[in-house]
Amino acid sequence: MTSAPTPRIELAGVTKRFGSRQVLAGIDLAVAPGESLVIIGGSGTGKSVMLKCILGLIPIDAGSIRVDGQEVAGLKGAALDAHRTRIGMLFQGGALFDSLPVWRNISFALPGSAAERKAAAIDNLARVGLGPEVADLKPAELSGGMQKRVALARAIAARPPIIFFDEPTAGLDPITAAVINNLIRTLVTDLKITALTITHDMASVRHIADRVAMLHGGKIIWQGPLASLDGCDNAHVRQFITGSAEGPIQMPGARA
């Protein structure tokens, strides 16, 4: 009998409150090494907060977050930095540094001389389908899709074993979104990355996910393999994937 591998990421009973608002109300979730887990859920359900809690950007109120078996809550200084070296992050808006050229954005956390870092940046640009001519441009000179690709190149530059994707296709046209989805799936497979993605975009879910989980009311209310998503009988999940206005999920502020 073989024991199950240690989850790369494991959340148990994680809670987080902002003032009177309980955003996370006991999250239990595990992501296996090399797995691509996509978390779906409505706006304001705490998906981004959950990612930031795992990164140590937001302290949790209670519960446990373990990455490769190590407890994240309470990490400080060099230990917290070491934890963050294991995780790359693609932010929703790209979060590229406006004042720096593309190559310095990508190689920001890389060691070495300027020439070595620029060469590494150009290599990573190639991985996301962009040419070296982009390297010296400023982020403001790029289209939204190109900015997302550059942000993706920055997220993978240090070859972290885990990458978080926060709404990777938000604000992109369907074709550019498909290109980003393809890139993410290819990178996850080629680089054997453990990926945790949050999105509203069902096309992204179907393209990127090995497994899907739904966050609602501060808890994971359903999770399962991608293949079981369409046959799922959870009313919340059904409403979300069909995009129906009728169902148990009510828009905040909507009249009953």
């Binding site: 950007l57 930095d81 963050r84 995780i87 932010f91 808006g93 979060a95 540094f97 406006d98």
Partner: protein
Amino acid sequence: MIGVLVAIGVPVLAALASIGRLTRFAIRALTRMAQPPWYPAQVAQQMLSIGWLSLPVVGLTAIFTGSALAQQIFIGGSRFNAASTVPAVTVIGVVRELGPVLGGLMVAGRVASAMAAELGTMRVTEQIDALVTLRTDPFRWLVGPRILAAVLVMPFLVLVSNALGVMGGWLLATQRLGFNSAQYLATTARYLEWDDVISSLVKAAVFGFFIALMGCYHGYHSGGGAAGVGKATTNAVVSSFILILLSNLIITVIVFGS
């Protein structure tokens, strides 16, 4: 009665909490600045942005104010046959007060607002979070270089402001009020003391610290999208103005009060 206590207590507690947050921010910035890694290129870039690019507005303000001051001293002094005090009072007024204070206010208007807007935009677009995920301390990368650059550059700006303010007074006095150029400059030199210059430079460094601190503090804690950045910018300018005027009064009383 309880309503009155609440009406007084709530804003007092809020003000104390704000002072506490600002103090903690300042201590955190200063302690992180003292520890490596340091980013000299960031400091140099900020020195250029704060110092070189503020020269036109500081210089013009000093020339116009120095000229107006000389004119007013001449008018006021003429009432009791003291018009000859124009060079002495102008140099003292400019170097002790107007040069540093107006220079500080001009730089605050230009720089504190720019810092708050830049850091505020970085906050709302998650660039500060991105810095942290890339193992870079925002206090060392963003806040420290701005404070250090402002403290280093402001004394030079105020030296220029003082020189141009005195020159403005000299220009007006010699071209319009009939003063002899050589006598004006000799009187100016005779009444200018080292204490005046040193207090002016100390004020400038203190003002630079407050300008950068308030710009960074309000920008760093900005939230709520574009409106939040706008509010942070306004708060940075207003609070740096108040701190400049308050610290100027304190330094003046300490140095010249006795």
